[in-house]
């Protein structure tokens, strides 16, 4: 695999074997659905084939294909966001359920049970990706766009077609659900509720 990554030539017939797993994981982490991930990878490979004469060898084959895939994933996220653009931001049972009517925590955050200070390395990554994959699609899009694609909040709002005010709410809900899921060791399903 490292050999393939280092070779600045294009061999389309070997793309799926050399880079398929990498590209698929990249897309799956961002889109959350195996079907959508496969579709994005296929579109990226087809676009790569069509454009392969323009490949100049400045990047590795994998970097080049990943850049194409990134655009396909962004298209898929935008399309999904457009389908939901008219959805009014409703209540969120899980977020609201953390607080009493008075606005105080039902169960105040506990310093001893913070998984982020206990887990490390691959274990922590696996836990975060597990909880990320279980977020409701809308919240996952927002969190993924903000972090995995490393965009400032304003750019996330523009890309997903949400107003700044709604974006703060979505980021807050996404983070709170991730935090709750991690704190409970994955026992709280962060996808519960609307």
């Amino acid at each position: 695999v490292d050999q393939a990554e280092a070779t600045p030539t294009l061999d389309p017939t070997g793309w799926v074997d050399a880079h398929g797993d990498y590209l698929y994981r990249f897309a799956l982490a961002r889109l959350g659905s195996p079907d959508a991930a496969e579709e994005a990878v296929q579109e990226a490979l087809m676009a790569g084939l069509a454009a392969r004469r323009r490949f100049e060898g400045r990047a590795t084959e994998r970097t080049w294909l990943t850049a194409i895939l990134k655009r396909k994933v962004a298209d898929a996220l935008r399309a999904a966001a457009r389908r939901r653009a008219r959805t009014v931001l409703g209540d969120d049972r899980l977020t609201d359920g953390q607080f009493r009517r008075s606005g105080k925590w039902h169960q105040p955050p506990d310093g001893d049970a913070d998984p982020l200070s206990v887990l490390t390395g691959a274990e922590l990554r696996a836990a975060v990706f597990d909880c990320l994959g279980r977020l409701p699609p809308r919240l996952r899009e927002v969190i993924v766009s903000r972090y995995l694609d490393d965009r400032p909040a304003e750019a996330v709002g523009r890309a997903l077609g949400v107003t700044a005010g709604n974006l703060w709410v979505l980021l807050h809900r996404g983070r709170l659900r991730l935090w709750r899921c991690l704190a409970d060791g994955g026992h709280t399903d962060p996808g519960d509720g609307p």
Binding site: R25, P34, F129
Partner: protein, 84 residues
């Protein structure tokens, strides 16, 4: 005095660099008297750093292409590459 619910919202917003002076003051004042929100703030900032670090990593962990998908993709590339 703001509630824990509001403090949690402001804590999240602070990670995106969007708090006014007044909001910062309200959040600090609340955290002075609320251990739960102080811990939430610490843990959320840690989560923020962990998520930001994931950016730097290469492909995420997890299973690769399912065998059937691999076959479909191979076939698609062969068709397209062969055809031109």
């Amino acid at each position: 005095m703001i509630t824990c619910r509001r403090a949690a919202e402001l804590t999240s917003r602070s990670l995106d660099g969007r708090l006014s002076l007044a909001q910062r003051a309200l959040l600090r004042l609340h955290a002075l008297t609320c251990g739960g929100c102080r811990r939430y703030g610490d843990q959320l900032r840690r989560l923020h750093r962990v998520l930001a670090r994931l950016v730097a990593t290469t492909a995420p962990a997890g299973p690769g292409l399912p065998p059937a998908a691999r076959e479909r993709l191979r076939a698609a590339v062969r068709r397209r590459a062969g055809g031109g």
